[in-house]
């Protein structure tokens, strides 16, 4: 469970806070999407959760522990993190990439190898790909590897920052379906940032709509469509559904 309590963060040179008194609770097993335009704070929010950014005030409590009291590096090894450009390490094979966090956690070799095979199966990638290098894979394949790389140590929480932003529409749909399938198979919290309304509503059990550092609405897609909470949300829906 993630509790975000009155979190505030402002950068010196900006006219509005990046995170303006955010209050939310995310429960185990939920796939939450965070929707908003550039600069609304959605990326800052997830980076605050894994302490890549620190916050000016407020608390973030993960599984009843305030992350302030936890070492950042140790925390990040327990939270999956996927970014838009994927960031697969070009000098490592696919297997070595996937094994990154297990290696950092000093798992035994056998356990790591087994896990890598499991994960390749999860994304339908043949075993020969184990020793290939990222540049030999297509964009969609790279992104899928990026996803399982984040899942390697079986984290309870996975943060995804516009992971499918650079993918073509057809592949993106397949990846979305795959993500839903992978999420259904466990009790993990996925927090998925996107600027695409359709993606947000398709994937999210609940959607956080943000604008200028504030949460405009946080509810299920159906409720949001039926009862938009603010003019901003109304406008957002109007643009998509007219």
């Amino acid at each position: 469970m993630i509790e975000i309590k009155d979190v505030y963060k402002k950068y010196e040179n900006s006219s509005y806070p990046a995170l303006d008194h955010i209050n939310l609770t995310i429960n185990d097993g939920e796939l939450i999407t965070v929707l908003g335009t550039s600069g609304c704070g959605k990326t800052t929010l997830i980076k605050a959760i894994n302490k890549l950014h620190d916050i000016d005030s407020g608390e973030i409590i993960i599984d009843h522990k305030n992350i302030n009291d936890v070492d950042g590096v140790a925390l990040r090894r327990t939270i999956g993190y996927v970014i838009q450009q994927v960031g697969l390490f070009p000098h490592m094979t696919i297997a070595e990439n996937i094994a990154t966090i297990p290696e950092l956690l000093k798992w035994e070799k056998d356990r790591i190898n087994k896990r890598v095979d499991e994960l390749l199966e999860m994304i339908d990638l043949p075993k020969e790909y184990k020793n290939r290098y990222p540049r030999e894979l297509s964009g969609g394949q790279q992104q899928r590897v990026g996803l399982v790389r984040a899942l390697a140590a079986d984290p309870h929480i996975v943060l995804l920052d516009e992971p499918f932003g650079a993918i073509d529409a057809i592949t993106r749909e397949h990846l979305q379906d795959e993500l839903i399938r992978i999420h259904k198979n466990g009790n993990k919290i996925f927090i998925f940032v996107t600027h695409d309304l359709n993606e947000a509503f398709k994937l999210g059990d609940k959607v956080i709509i943000m604008d200028k550092g504030r949460v405009e609405q946080f509810d299920t897609p159906d409720h949001i469509k039926a009862h938009p909470a603010t003019p901003f949300v109304k406008k957002l829906l109007g643009v998509a559904y007219d």
Binding site: N50, L52, V73, A74, L75, R76, R77, T78, Y81, I83, Q84, Q85, V86, G87, L88, F89, P90, H91, T100, I101, L104, Y133, G146, R149, A150, L159
Partner: protein
Amino acid sequence: MEYFTQYGGEYIRLVIEHLQISLLAIIVSIIIGIVLGIVATRFNKTEKILLFLASNLRIIPSLAVLIFLVPYLGTGLMPTLVALVLLGIPPVLLNTIKGINNVPEYVVEAALGMGYDKRTLFRKIVFPLALPVIFNGIQITTTEVIASTTLAAYIGAGGLGELIMSGVGLMRFDYLWIGGLSVSAISLMAMLMLTGIRRFLRKYEV
């Protein structure tokens, strides 16, 4: 050709001296260049100062540096090494800085987000990815130092420069040819060796 039969032993001595001086200067340049380069990327101000110094140091002719050092360091090996190292550091230094800065930010971000600590991040991700560019700097330094070691002869430190100087002094073109070609040959072989090593670095190219 008669040169070799007459002065064979002498020739080998000169070649070995040349190799020794070059190798020493190259290794020291590489170590200092890489260390300073790494330090530079950590501190903005230091980076700017070092970049400025490095770019300008290359412009000063090594011979001038050499002669300038003689009153302070005497003749022989010391001033030669200093002059050669001053020549050899900039390519490695500049390329270390460039190599490290060229590692894509998103790769670093992904690594940090996964829980790499700064030390392991540098050792396992940043440095390996910077290596191809750093190695290019090493190649440049190697060529320049091997060629410039001919200067060592000017202050009596030995090396194939002696052969070239004798050639000039005695108007013996065969000395000049042999001296010059030998230096080029050494340079070429060094380059071939380095290119061979480079092959192993292929996988680090982004």
